[in-house]
């Protein structure tokens, strides 16, 4: 899940305008072959991506049900009024936003720290990179089961805490700690991914910049502030956006570990959409939730465009 959602956001900035070299008059046969080669991907993308996206906007205003003998009827904004009156929806939205607000700085800083630690010439650095990356190739389903076990009241984490004299909470059973538990675990799983992205950003910074800074007497911290950080701006924006969108898509962990509980304290927008659209088969209502989600994602990526444009102007 991580790779695909993160990857999707990657391109928002790159835009379609790519300078084409010698642009030539297309001959008819080449046009036909071109469309023929595009056709399989094109048909699939239209059928399974563009139409469903379009359907979100239509279904949200209907009473469509997943399995129903009667055709869907247009019901105006009724789904939305019902949604905005629903306390669980607001709870889920707040949880999702809190999850994003906490995990975005936490995970990106942790990932940057890891990247800095392995961006050195040192024996064994490959080993550390591999270990930090292991959770990324482990599926979120497995990670969720594993951490669910570790989070048990008498589980591994509390046993370790007891060793240092701390009485651990019932992590997933207490509404005050459940969301925090999910955040810690999700950051553990995904931060190796962003470590690699930070690392590729770090390696675009020319080494002579560090040499010049060090000749000027800059210490490690000053080098970080004046050389490293400015050189990572693009990477930082990309990472913030991808973590934010992944955070808003939060589902697997919740479905496996908490089912949204206790007391809706871990319910999320996607979890609610699945519950209503799949379990309760209310497709129209779920589409309304998806539409709200879609608007949030759109806002986040517009923000990304705005931030990148800002940077281009400065240059």
């Amino acid at each position: 899940m991580t790779t695909s959602t993160n990857a999707r956001a990657a391109i928002a900035t790159t835009a379609p305008s790519r300078a084409r070299g010698a642009r030539r008059r297309a001959d008819r046969r080449s046009t036909a072959t071109g469309w023929l080669m595009l056709a399989p991907a094109g048909v699939l993308i239209i059928t399974f991506l563009l139409i469903p996206i379009g359907l979100t906007f239509v279904l949200a205003f209907t009473n469509a049900r997943l399995i129903s003998p009667e055709p869907a009827k247009f019901i105006g904004v009724a789904n939305f009024t019902r949604l905005f009156d629903n306390e669980t929806f607001w709870r889920s939205l707040i949880n999702t936003v809190v999850f994003a607000l906490v995990i975005v700085p936490f995970q990106s800083a942790l990932a940057l720290g890891l990247a800095l630690l392995i961006n050195v010439k040192m024996r064994g650095v490959n080993f550390f990179r591999t270990v930090f990356f292991l959770p990324v190739v482990t599926s979120m389903v497995v990670v969720s089961m594993l951490w669910m076990f570790m989070y048990q009241p008498n589980g591994l984490i509390n046993a370790l805490l007891a060793k240092v004299g701390v009485q651990g909470p019932d992590w997933l059973g207490d509404p005050r700690t459940a969301l925090i538990a999910l955040i810690l675990m999700s950051a553990w799983q995904a931060c190796g991914f962003h470590m690699v992205i930070w690392l590729s950003g770090l390696q675009t910074i020319p080494a002579d910049l560090y040499e010049a800074a060090s000749l000027d007497g800059a210490g490690p911290w000053q080098q970080f502030v004046h050389v490293t950080w400015p050189g990572l701006r693009q990477t930082a924006i990309f990472i913030l956006i991808t973590i934010t969108i992944a955070a808003f898509s939060l589902f697997t962990q919740v479905n496996i570990m908490t089912q949204g509980g206790p007391l809706d304290s871990t319910s999320t927008v996607v979890f609610m959409a699945v519950r209503t659209g799949f379990q309760q088969q209310q497709t129209g209502y779920a589409a309304a939730i998806s539409l709200v989600f879609f608007v949030i994602v759109l806002a986040v990526s517009l923000l990304q465009r705005y931030l990148t444009r800002d940077k281009d102007l400065k240059r």
């Binding site: 391109i11 790519r18 292991l134 590729s200």
Partner: protein, 305 residues
């Protein structure tokens, strides 16, 4: 596009004019090593715990929690948990389903997406730019936003045999994920970096576009193929939300969704750890064997064009 992760000059030896042999330098590198080791424990130990516990009876797992034994293969070790897994669920079926679904998604995906990218990158025809623009625009839409409308849609459209709806088939777990905008983009970027003179030369020799694609460009696209294969395989293997919704029959269920069986009646953590280990270890082994390709493919997802 294939951003390679190499190790650039050591910044720590250049800082603050410390000489490599000095006392301060040695203290600092010792601290750095400790920090790295500590973090490796944080990221590695939970997985060690999972694998080690899969060989222990439940009673012993809990007995060992308070000590280092939790991470060590000590005490009663046996394959009971694994046998229990096979008893409890049709495990072989689940695993073969996962393999079949992921491999098909990757194989079809490589062909379909590279062909589309080839047309967009190396040929010239009208409407090309619009197509590319639309494909790139869809990249920001996370699957989760359209999962529910897509569920309704695949339940509405006719299946190959004319019956209504795709639910509960292999096809519904594969076909929607074959064409992938990000894969097209990665191939597109890579193809653009291959000199166009090659096509010209081939055309002089009488090769058609399909021939150029198959015999010239694809053989040169190894790194892009590896990247796309990895970035397609992982989400396909790990798919959870989608199969959870579209598959009802046991014989079509992939391994990730199968884990839900273990949360029902009398939970055995040892069995859960065994199940989790068998569906994880093959991927971990693949990762360790093809590390460079894995890491480079992730790195390339962050590279901007």
């Amino acid at each position: 596009m294939t951003a390679t992760i190499s190790h650039v000059a050591d910044q720590s030896t250049k800082t603050g004019g410390e000489l490599p042999g000095s006392h301060k330098h040695r203290v600092r590198s010792a601290l750095g090593l400790l920090l790295r080791l500590g973090l490796s424990l944080v990221f590695g130990l939970p997985l060690v715990f999972m694998i080690v516990s899969s060989f222990k009876p439940d009673l012993q797992i809990f007995d060992d929690l308070g000590s280092l034994n939790a991470f060590l293969p000590v005490g009663t070790l046996n394959l009971e948990n694994y046998l229990g897994v096979f008893d409890r669920v049709p495990f072989v079926t689940f695993l073969l389903n996962s393999v079949f679904i992921s491999v098909s998604t990757v194989a079809f995906g490589l062909v379909v997406n590279s062909m589309a990218a080839f047309a967009l990158s190396r040929m010239y025809f009208r409407g090309q730019k619009v197509v590319l623009g639309v494909i790139l625009a869809t990249l920001i839409v996370p699957f989760e936003t359209m999962a529910l409308p897509l569920l309704w849609w695949v339940n509405t459209i006719p299946y190959f045999d004319g019956s209504q709806g795709w639910l509960d088939t292999y096809a519904v777990q594969i076909v929607p994920f074959v064409a992938n905008a990000f894969s097209i983009y990665l191939f597109y970027q890579y193809f653009d970096s291959i000199p166009k003179e090659l096509d010209e030369a081939a055309k002089v020799d009488g090769a058609g576009w399909f021939r150029i694609y198959r015999s010239i460009i694809m053989p040169l696209a190894g790194p892009a193929v590896a990247t796309v294969a990895i970035l397609t395989f992982l989400p396909a293997w790990n798919a959870y939300l989608w199969p959870l919704m579209v598959v009802q029959s046991e014989e079509l269920r992939p391994a990730m969704v199968g884990i839900d069986y273990f949360k029902q009646l009398n939970v055995s953590w040892g069995q859960i750890m065994a199940y989790a280990s068998i569906i994880t270890v093959p991927v971990l082994v693949m990762f360790i064997a093809f590390q460079r390709a894995f890491i480079n493919s992730i790195a390339s997802s962050g590279v901007k064009g």
